[in-house]
């Protein structure tokens, strides 16, 4: 019985992240529009976009190989599995032990690897441009992410997200300089990985600046829908990750009653909403960077996270 309940919660979590991903995207867009004194579309617009894409006929370039058709599903699966492993409204999920934070970072890498390959499959200059820039950004963002994982897991003595959340919610964390540095680093990495504004702008089609859009330029219809959904899912994943590590309050633990789960859901919804608002505010207040400023921006994240690890040693009493 307990097993079935745990399985149900795990499945609920998996469906929840997919279901709310477009909503979060729509929410961020609505807030951005409001900040710019525009009306903006409804927050439900991304759902309509996805439906519209799904109904369309897929147009494949003549040169597309089987890889091009498989990649949307592989990328989506990798990101979905990673997202399912991050505790959202409840920690201690059934399969949370099957992978830790390092695996989550690497699964995102899997998704990116295949998407970058798909960008090169058609053999146009845009796809290659997007792929090569994406890999360049990732080559700095990924080590920064791993160093963030290092800092957090050295503090909590574990790489399991559920245990990290429990540790962070506990009393013996205290205020640490390292955690502040790591938070900044993780935010920078999240911006880069999600192709958000100072790094990339998925809303434009300007050759000089685009990264992610260039890579998926040749996709259409259901394939594009999968990729868009995966991108939205990634944003949910990062927000959940930040929430889980830095504000792990209100999460239900394994074996809690229904009330705790409902409370967890409300807390999670609030966290995502606040995260979305902050993201929108940040994006409207900053300009897009030149592509070759991005490594410097990400290098700051890498340095901060490395500094956080080293500070951890100095600050900890023996």
């Amino acid at each position: 019985m307990a097993m079935i309940a745990a399985l149900a919660i795990q499945l609920a979590q998996m469906t929840l992240v997919v279901a709310i991903a477009p909503l979060l995207l729509g929410w961020v867009r609505t807030i951005k529009a409001r900040v710019l004194r525009r009306r903006g579309p409804s927050p439900l617009q991304p759902y309509r976009d996805l439906l519209r894409l799904i109904r369309k006929e897929a147009v494949l370039a003549e040169n597309a190989s089987w890889l091009f058709r498989v990649v949307p599903y592989v990328t989506f699966a990798a990101i979905w599995v990673a997202a399912a492993l991050v505790p959202t409204f409840a920690s201690g999920l059934l399969f949370s032990w099957s992978a830790d934070m390092i695996v989550i970072a690497a699964l995102l890498g899997t998704g990116r690897f295949f998407l970058a390959l798909a960008g090169m499959d058609i053999g146009t200059s845009f796809g290659g441009l997007g792929s090569s820039r994406e890999m360049m950004i990732a080559s700095v963002a990924e080590p920064a992410m791993i160093m963030v994982v290092f800092t957090v897991s050295l503090l909590a003595q574990t790489t399991q997200l559920s245990s990290i959340a429990a540790f962070m919610a506990g009393a013996n964390v205290g205020v640490r300089v390292s955690l502040a540095l790591v938070l900044v680093a993780l935010l920078v990495v999240a911006l880069a990985e999600n192709a958000r504004i100072p790094v990339d702008n998925p809303a434009t089609h300007l050759e000089l600046t685009m990264v992610h859009e260039a890579m998926v330029l040749e996709y259409s219809a259901r394939h594009l829908a999968m990729i868009e959904l995966a991108a939205a899912l990634k944003l949910v994943l990062y927000l959940s990750l930040i929430a889980c590590v830095f504000v792990p309050w209100g999460m239900a633990a394994a074996g809690d009653g229904i009330v705790a789960y409902l409370g967890g859901l409300v807390a999670y919804a609030i966290k995502l909403a606040v995260g979305g608002v902050l993201l929108a505010l940040f994006e409207t207040s900053i300009a897009k960077m030149r592509v070759f400023r991005v490594p410097e921006f990400l290098g700051v994240a890498l340095m901060l996270s490395l500094l956080a690890v080293l500070l951890l040693f100095v600050s900890r009493s023996p």
Partner: protein, 670 residues
Amino acid sequence: MALLAALVLIASLLLTGLGAVGLGGRPAGRIIVYGAAASACSAMVVLAAITLFGRAPAQDLVLPLGIPWIGAHLRLDPLAAFFLLVVNLGGAAASVYGLGYGRHDSEPQRVLPLFAVFLAAMNMVVLADDAYSFLASWEFMSLASWGLVMAHHRTDGTAQAGCVYLVMAGFGTLALLLCFGLLAGVSGAYAFADIRAAGLSPSIGALVLALTLLGAGSKAGIVPLHVWLPLAHPAAPSHVSALMSGVMTKVAIYGIIRILFDLAGEPAWWWSVVVLVLGGVTAVLGVLYALMQHDIKRLLAYHTVENIGIIVIGLGLALAFRANGMMVPAALAFSAALFHVLNHMLFKSLLFFGAGAVLTATGERDMEHLGGLIHRMPVTAATFLLGCAAISALPPLNGFASEWLTFQAILVSPAVPQWGLKFLIPGVGAGLALSAALAAACFVKAFGITFLGRPRTAAAAQAREVDRFSLAVMSAFALACILTGIVPGLIVDALAPVVSQLTRGTSLPVQSAMPWLTLIPIAAERSSYNGILVLVFMALSGTLAAFAIHRLASRAVRRAPAWDCGFPEASPTTQYTAGSFAQPIRRVFGSLVFVARESVEMPPPGSLKPARFTVSLRDLIWECGYAPLAAGITYAADRVNHLQFLTIRRYLGLVFALLVALLLGIAIWP
């Protein structure tokens, strides 16, 4: 018993080599030699597996060969058994691959005899139990592989590759010779058992460390001794490249482990600092070099440098933990390093086989002349893709499992008492993460430019899938990459006897007893990873998504010209090339490491001259290390050359002066 059987198999390999000399260039020779090598290696794999999994005790044997009254000591212990397994698995695969690939060899009589001897020599190195047999087999291994590098000696660059390889191999053996001299000490007992018993003084220990890293490290390809790899590996036939890169560098790692962890006695903690720094530098520089290459085999060769760096990082961590008496973390780091040894053999051999297939099909090694091969060579493309994903450490494949273990070992490092190590190890961890991320970029480039897009030349457009032997071997290794990736716990268990030999009896908890075959190196609340579940999850969610989409969505598909933002551009030359793919990364990292400079030569308006874009890269290690050294040696040789042309009187005078100096020296010496 197993040891005797192994010796018989090695002897049969040697005989095969001898026989191949007689067979010459006849087509039957290829089948006989590769067939015999494949069966001998397969038998050896079975033998090694039985020894390893059966946890057989170490076996010794002394043969009346080699130096009189000393004989050749041989020993088959778990460490040797594991490396026998790695060597012969790679050897068997390369032999079967050679059955098909060897057909295209223009001069098989140059490859066949040495191929079998090379395999025999690598097996002998692993089994040797005294310094003389070790060095003799090591030298045999070097010379046989040198002969194989020189197989196509008329091709451009091969002669230089052979020269550099010979110099580096000679230098390495010299360093090892001195190293064993120090280890044997005044007693001069060359058997490893005596060396083990003797122990070392700390000052000699430092020298032994330096000489081991120079000697075995030059064979493994540790930066800055890696310069021969990118020259030699592309020059050799592809199945030999696979052997040299996937297997011979592992034999070098075996040498490092045997000397530093087994023979040298108690290590000092600062040894690990040297090893870790070397490992970190090797990993990052190796992959950066690889990213700059357009020749697919050179790229793979440089990538071997990176993976050796990862293995060396694991060994450095093991040293650090063992020197501080932390045996469980040491066992973890060892398991990670040895697991990566196995993984690298699997995916690097697979990738070299794939590169060989591309070479057979198109005659091209330069990625800039390839493209679109996924349409013409589907099986090669699929297996190569798996190899690329595995070497880029993507879950749930095997490269990720061993890197995950290494990361876990790094995370134990705060418990190390020395402050230097505490600060160093996270830095090395950042280097490891950086090299993993760059490796992914590198293999997106390698696969994307070679197999995806549109063909850039006629050769690529008319490529044909290769023979069945090659395809079978590549598929088998691709499958092995998946299998070892999803059950890492079983591999860690299999490594337990080897690890406990190196950590004085400590090993990790038995992983096969863990629920769901989860990999739990230390404690469940600390970290765990389950490859099977990750694979099943990914497969399920991918299928579910595909199923749902195909049920709900429009299934219509239309083929049309590429949209490309509305540019109807037909020429395949407008695609991204390997150079352009690497350009952003070159700008980020290259200006520091390679002093990369880009220059654009724009003709004035009206001129019909083409505009030129040139990139200059400088190999600082070669320019600042090797080139001045070579110049110095040439200069000194020129000076000393005069001694050749003296008169007899001057020679006599010289001898007399030397004699006086010697006698004086003896007289003054207290």
